[in-house]
């Protein structure tokens, strides 16, 4: 089976032969894989004899793979995705820069903008309080605040959409 994996924009085509636990990567590279699940989301990987500890966490549209403590963000395309891309179609939608997502879970303690406000790059949008620290969230772009999906006092989860800013 063929897959494309993408890390930091670098795409690699990989072909797996499951019965032999063998991975071939174009051009001509072969690796011996032995992957065994240890816990809910942790794995032991012995790759060409080298032992690694992996944790796997599925995010929307990508995978968070921790290899020996350090986390990689990997996108995976299977044969269907690759086919769709050939026809100029995308099987998933990507977010744009004006979408403000909560980088951390926390409590919205202060909101400095309202829908319709003009904001500059770096302008203070809100304060997100977590573990007793105040974290200031600044605007990544200049534009107009379109929608605000939360209000002061709300508890937000990591990754939750807070507001949209149109440029």
């Amino acid at each position: 089976m063929k897959f494309n994996t993408i890390i930091d924009g670098q795409s690699v085509e990989m072909e797996f032969s499951y019965s032999l636990n063998l991975l071939s990567i174009k051009p001509e590279k072969e690796m011996q894989i032995d992957l065994v699940q240890l816990g809910v989301d942790s794995y032991s990987l012995i790759l060409d004899g080298k032992s690694h500890h992996l944790t796997i966490n599925k995010q929307p549209e990508k995978y968070e793979i921790t290899v020996d403590h350090y986390t990689h963000l990997v996108q995976v395309q299977d044969e269907m995705d690759i086919l769709l891309e050939k026809f100029g179609m995308q099987s998933n939608t990507s977010s744009h820069a004006g979408e403000i997502h909560a980088q951390i879970p926390g409590l919205v303690s202060q909101l400095f903008v309202r829908p319709g406000d003009n904001v500059d790059i770096g302008q203070k949008l809100l304060i997100l309080e977590a573990m007793k620290m105040e974290n200031e969230i600044d605007s990544p772009i200049a534009g107009i605040v379109n929608d605000i999906h939360i209000k002061s006092g709300d508890k937000v989860e990591k990754g939750e959409l807070i507001m949209d800013i149109n440029n």
């Binding site: 897959f3 636990n21 240890l38 794995y43 290899v67 980088q103």
Partner: protein, 500 residues
């Protein structure tokens, strides 16, 4: 001696105190908030009582409820740990009124030393050096501007009510002053219910070095040596070691003497810590005294072979210290890494979630003071400290190599932790050489990120393979059916492919 001790705290420090109480043959009582029902401190204690919902102010800071529990369970002593109510003299007084003994210093010492400005005044009177700054809280922005000009920029804004970096800000110029003061005040008010702030001089490449002191009620005051705590993020310590690679015997003696002098001046008893800033020219200044056990106390225990909690309990029972100054001869080297639930490479953003797996490190010279278990949810309610990893070695190199080994061995899944960050710091040249100050982390930030990227490049294939496996698995749920988890999934799916 006491029969039953209530621990008015949670997490790793509650576990730490329970361990010693049990070794001393005492009954232990835990208090807990609703979400902490299955936390280790609750599971380990002989008795446990719920004191309210998740929010600290309604549970671990709920004085009325905690006092009720103290009376209900007939505890004859209360250990406050650190944080929460440990430096709250009203609570200490109230505990004593129930008839229970307060395992901590006299309330007068807590009051004096807990108020950073009163402490400065007292220390100035003893003739010990303090960091140049204001002794009165700021009254207005103009007052702040004038004072800042006198001291000279950069200056540091600090909260009068407490430590831990909350309400603390550096200001480089007068332009920044107004905004930053507002922010600091609101943070201080939230953390300590006290929005008084003051200014002090920001020192050149300062080291944060503290002296552990111990006093009993029979006039004995002993210094247990220093801890080097200069590796800090967000003004909070993350890696500590003893002895400090920066100071020499002469300075060590001077710091100890000053610390003993300050301790005596406030009629102290129990465990205390005198914090100093030592600048690059080895000038030292009193910073503050913490009238409680410190998070990083284990490294002092490791080099001295003394259980500080046991000593606290003995002193509270009005026994004499079990050691004299002459008997304190530290041996070897100890390092502590704080394991926080946070992403060290994303601005130390707190990380929450359910811990799905833990593999604690073990082996010669490794100590784990933990407060969490598998299946536990890490919430936004409390401090992100999950536990502390401490290593001891006959010299610095051994302790350091052992720490790196132990951190590599340490696996936690389900949340981000400070483990990868600590690993990169410990392997950096500045830490390896023992040549660092409180400014070092900021200065080497880019080098650390680069080291992480190199590590990632090396492990690129493993990550890609893991992702493909997860992707494949999510498409073929059949292979994860119950009972087959322990099988090699590639083999299983291979077999499935052949069947099709």
């Amino acid at each position: 001696m006491f029969k039953k001790i209530l621990i008015a705290n949670r997490g790793e420090i509650a576990v730490r105190v329970i361990r010693t109480c049990k070794e001393m043959g005492m009954q232990t009582v835990a208090i807990y908030s609703e979400p902490d029902r299955t936390s280790p401190h609750v599971l380990l204690a002989d008795e446990a009582y719920c004191v309210g919902p998740g929010t600290s102010s309604k549970s671990y800071l709920n004085v009325i409820k905690i006092l009720e529990v103290i009376q209900k369970c007939n505890a004859d002593a209360v250990h406050p740990g650190y944080g929460f109510l440990s430096e709250n003299c009203d609570f200490a007084d109230a505990v004593q009124k129930t008839g229970a003994v307060w395992i901590g210093p006299p309330t007068k010492a807590i009051t004096t030393m807990g108020d950073k400005m009163a402490a400065r005044k007292l220390v100035l009177k003893t003739g010990s050096p303090v960091v140049p700054g204001t002794t009165e809280p700021l009254t207005s922005i103009n007052n702040a501007k004038e004072t800042a000009k006198e001291i000279g920029y950069p200056i540091l804004i600090k909260a009068a009510g407490g430590g831990g970096g909350k309400g603390m800000r550096i200001i480089h110029s007068e332009n920044d002053l107004k905004n930053v003061i507002g922010q600091a005040k609101s943070e201080a008010k939230k953390a300590f219910a006290d929005d008084r702030i003051y200014l002090e001089k920001y020192l050149e490449e300062p080291h944060h070095i503290e002296i552990q002191v111990f006093a009993d009620n029979h006039g004995n005051v002993v210094s247990l040596g220093e801890r080097e705590c200069s590796i800090q993020r967000r003004y909070q310590k993350i890696i500590e070691e003893t002895p400090s690679p920066f100071i020499d015997d002469k300075l060590r003696l001077k710091l100890s003497k000053t610390a003993l002098h300050i301790t005596e001046s406030c009629d102290y008893s129990g465990a205390g810590t005198i914090e100093f800033l030592v600048d690059k020219h080895k000038n030292f200044y009193f910073l503050e005294m913490n009238t409680r056990l410190q998070v990083e106390h284990p490294i002092t225990e490791m080099v001295n072979g003394i259980d500080l909690v046991k000593e606290q309990i003995r002193v509270a029972a009005r026994e004499k210290l079990s050691f004299t100054q002459e008997e304190i001869i530290p041996s070897g080297h100890a390092i502590e890494c704080r394991i926080y639930a946070e992403d060290g490479f994303n601005n130390f953003a707190p990380s929450t979630g359910i811990i799905t797996e833990i593999m604690f490190p073990h082996g010669l010279g490794v100590r784990m003071d933990e407060g969490v278990r598998v299946g536990q949810e890490i919430t936004i309610y409390y401090d992100p400290l999950l536990g502390k990893l401490i290593t001891w070695g006959k010299d610095r190199k051994t302790a350091l190599q052992r720490m790196i080994r132990a951190l590599k061995e340490f696996q936690i899944a389900g949340i981000e932790t400070s483990i990868p960050f600590c690993l990169m710091v410990l392997q950096h040249n500045s830490f390896q050489q023992g040549n660092y100050s409180t400014h070092t982390l900021d200065a080497i930030k880019n080098e650390l990120s680069e080291a992480v990227n190199n590590h990632k490049k090396e492990h690129d294939w493993a990550a890609r393979i893991g992702a493909v496996h997860a992707h494949h698995k999510s498409q073929q749920t059949i292979i994860t059916r119950k009972g087959q988890n322990k099988l090699n999934n590639w083999t299983v799916s291979g077999r499935l492919d052949e069947l099709q």
